[in-house]
Chain length 210, copies 2
């Protein structure tokens, strides 16, 4: 942290901490611009020149902070998948039944997939990435699937979920909550949280009357 | 139809009907090869040269039967969406409750989306198509959404479905049944029909115990 007593705020010589913070902020700005353009136009229809132009910087600046276009996309989807993995970790530590923990996770899962980086995870086909990046992408997606199946298995064990095949249930539930990345308008009036709650309620209770 | 009595089977001069049939078969073979390659490698990673090479024909032959790559993709997704629209039409004419008709449609919907052309519909982002093709693609997708909401509304009207918002229910159910286009292995042991039944049963009954 900066120590205001020992270092004048107006020093023209940034400290190592300031440099790191500025670098991280620039990297984040590039990623945010890139992910939004990938989501709007499609990855293949967006060049790093387009991203650089939106930020008023040069393409070599993007290479400096992040690397080539494949590496930028891998970083975007890694951020989204990191948010999902963190949400599963947090849900696992909650009190309550397995169904409570599953529902808490699904709410965050749906919200993240309507946000910039999660949206990019869903909109990105494996085939868009170079082979090594693709392997990393698939590995992280398998981790989310494993986390989701684990939460379902806990709910089956304590009887708070209806009997099901955890693999098929995980794919069915995840598919439903992935799809808003393709149709939900982030500028629209429907909040991601409200929408997530309504979708999860339907998945929990089913479409035939109880 | 060919009339064996009036026309020798071995004539080297094909009738207009034969010519049309051969032309349709060639067009179908090109579309089938193209859709399978788009699904395997991704649209942007597949050239019409690749498709032509798989069939042992030339790229101009593809242009002759179908047009450019955008037109080939539009034709592939139009075929898939046509199958879905026909399935909705068929389901609407069935006897039984609204829930029965909805379930019959969902079974076909899920199966089609695990087959070549339906898979292509799901894997194709709007942004992959040229503007006029994109408008056509979106229009057909809206038709399916309208059909699905209509079937849901019928089930709400006769009380065979639990109260829900038809728009959100349509997106939730469709999303779940779209997702196998991304993960189900068409060469695997799990049959599309079995998988569809299990997914729809979960959607019908919900994941919390009754």
């Amino acid at each position: 942290m900066l120590d205001a007593a020992s270092e004048p705020a107006s020093s023209p010589f940034p400290s190592p901490e300031e440099k790191r913070a500025v670098r991280a902020a620039k990297r984040e700005a590039v990623l945010r611009a890139a992910v939004q353009m990938f989501n709007e136009r499609g990855f293949h229809q967006t060049s790093l020149d387009d991203v650089a132009a939106r930020l008023g910087i040069s393409k070599p600046t993007i290479y400096h902070y992040l690397g080539n276009k494949d590496q930028v996309l891998l970083e975007c989807v890694t951020l989204g998948l990191g948010q999902l993995i963190a949400a599963a970790e947090e849900a696992r530590q909650r009190p309550g039944t397995g169904a409570d923990r599953l529902t808490a996770f699904l709410l965050r899962y749906a919200e993240i997939n309507m946000d910039d980086f999660g949206r990019c995870v869903i909109r990105t086909g494996d085939e868009a990435l170079a082979p090594e990046s693709r392997a990393r992408f698939r590995q992280l997606k398998r981790q989310i699937d494993t986390d989701l199946r684990g939460l379902i298995a806990e709910g089956l064990a304590d009887g708070s979920l209806a009997p099901c095949d955890p693999k098929i249930a995980a794919f069915t539930i995840a598919g439903a909550l992935n799809w808003p990345a393709r149709w939900h308008d982030p500028t629209g009036s429907e909040s991601p949280q409200d929408l997530a709650r309504q979708m999860i309620d339907l998945l929990a209770r089913g479409f035939v009357p109880r």
